[in-house]
């Protein structure tokens, strides 16, 4: 999809392992089509519970006593993202990716705001968060318009990533014992050019599919 001067390829992880996930995937497909987000590279992820997978390393970032392991669901998300990265890397012709989670729901006017943000963000950006959370208490510098340099946002339901951002992330994001968004703030983002659109242009669907999650922190 062409937005401003950028040719951006959407990619989305999905699951069909349970009725819940099948319904969620169907909703996502219809929703993205309704927003004219087309030619998505769909990657079937790993449902950790059904696959029988768990984290084997304790999560130490804010539980240094080693007593806490991330839940199976988070391990599944982490592995699924690795699958997506590998598939994305096999398309070296793609310069920019729009990474979507299947619960991403855009706000009204998101396309024109994204178009403007892509004019305002420095040309050499690696990550541009369209969907983010937990920015309010993070060091923030205004760049231009709605683009900010926040160190660093959480969440990842809608992110534009450059090819360099992808390759550097694959090189550095090798420990799956933490939630991916937290791990990247430590092992990936300090080495990359990361920007955020605020207010965010994408929200997340409620887990039961009945509406938007209005409780996501800014």
């Amino acid at each position: 999809m062409i937005i401003g001067k950028y040719n951006i390829n959407p990619v989305c992880i999905y699951l069909t392992d349970t009725a819940y996930w099948m319904a969620r995937t169907e909703r996502a497909k219809k929703y993205f089509a309704s927003e004219f987000v087309e030619d998505i590279l769909w990657i079937k992820g790993i449902h950790a519970e059904n696959a029988g997978l768990k984290s084997a390393k304790p999560y130490l970032i804010d539980a240094p006593d080693g007593s806490y392991f991330i839940p199976q669901k988070t391990t599944g998300v982490n592995i699924s993202i690795m699958m997506a990265y590998a598939a994305m890397e096999s398309h070296p012709e793609v310069e920019y990716w729009m990474m979507l989670e299947d619960d991403c729901r855009f706000v009204t006017g998101w396309q024109s705001r994204l178009k403007q943000a892509l004019k305002d963000v420095p040309n050499d950006f690696d990550y541009l968060f369209g969907g983010s959370c937990c920015c309010a208490d993070k060091p923030t510098e205004h760049v231009k318009g709605e683009v900010f340099e926040v160190k660093y946002p959480f969440c990842g339901h809608m992110t534009i990533m450059s090819k360099n951002g992808l390759l550097e992330t694959m090189k550095r994001h090798l420990d799956l014992s933490s939630p991916g968004d937290i791990e990247k703030t430590i092992s990936v983002f300090p080495f990359l050019k990361v920007y955020t659109i605020l207010p965010r242009i994408a929200e997340q669907e409620l887990t039961d599919g009945t509406g938007i999650n209005n409780q996501l922190p800014i």
Binding site: D17, I46, A51, L53, A56, T75, A86, A87, L174
Partner: protein, 219 residues
């Protein structure tokens, strides 16, 4: 890589996480170049210990109630194969040659593979180039060392084992991804138990590759 009428993309699985694995990858690249395989694409697999991932389901097919788990290495190997399926499915080739980094081609492999690919029906899904544990399993002789395995279900699986080198068609990848959902078993048993019964599966015997350091693998 053009062989017979097929344009086959070689995919080389490697691990980038430790020097020993990188050395193994580099040695395989040298070997592939020596064999005239130059258009391979390297795919980074999952290192179970580094990534911190392990299995939770028992593998009890051979010992019901035994509560055996395949362990982190084989769980990661299953996931690495899944990475290969995902990458291949995202690429735009009709066939892929999956190669693990310990694969070593034997003398005359290219001519033998060419002969078998000339013979194999175009709708084939999976061709074991390397394999083991084929003895005593029902197979149909197609000729020139090419064998077809009838579609069967159940354990023990009546297909070849091993997954260090094989050709897979793109047309079967959605099916493979849809049926490889449980990491309880090593990748080769998993394919035989859950995917092959709806696929056209063949093997070249004797195998055309060996595994470095494991050359006495049963035929």
């Amino acid at each position: 890589m053009k062989i017979s009428k097929y344009d086959i993309k070689p995919l080389l699985l490697y691990l980038p996480d430790e020097q020993a694995w990188i050395d193994r990858w580099n040695a395989c690249k040298v070997h592939l170049e020596e064999q005239g395989i130059t258009d391979y694409y390297s795919v980074a697999g999952i290192h179970g210990e580094k990534f911190g991932v392990t299995g939770t389901h028992y593998f009890e097919l051979d010992n019901p109630g035994g509560k055996h788990m395949i362990g982190q290495k084989y769980t990661a190997s299953f996931l690495s194969q899944y990475v290969m399926y995902s990458v291949a499915n995202a690429m735009d080739y009709t066939h892929y040659l999956f190669i693990e980094d310990d694969t070593r081609f034997t003398e005359g492999w290219r001519e033998k593979l060419q002969t078998c690919l000339d013979l194999i029906p175009e709708d084939f899904d999976f061709l074991f180039v390397g394999s083991c544990c084929t003895e005593g399993k029902l197979k149909i002789d197609v000729g020139s060392g090419l064998y077809k395995y009838p579609q069967t279900k159940g354990y023990p699986a009546r297909y070849p084992m091993g997954g260090n080198c094989y050709i897979i068609s793109k047309k079967c990848l959605n099916h493979v991804i849809a049926t490889q959902r449980d990491a309880y078993a090593p990748a080769d048993i998993n394919l035989a138990m859950h995917s092959f019964s709806e696929m056209e599966v063949y093997a070249i015997l004797p195998r055309l590759v060996e595994q470095l350091g494991n050359e006495k693998l049963p035929a």
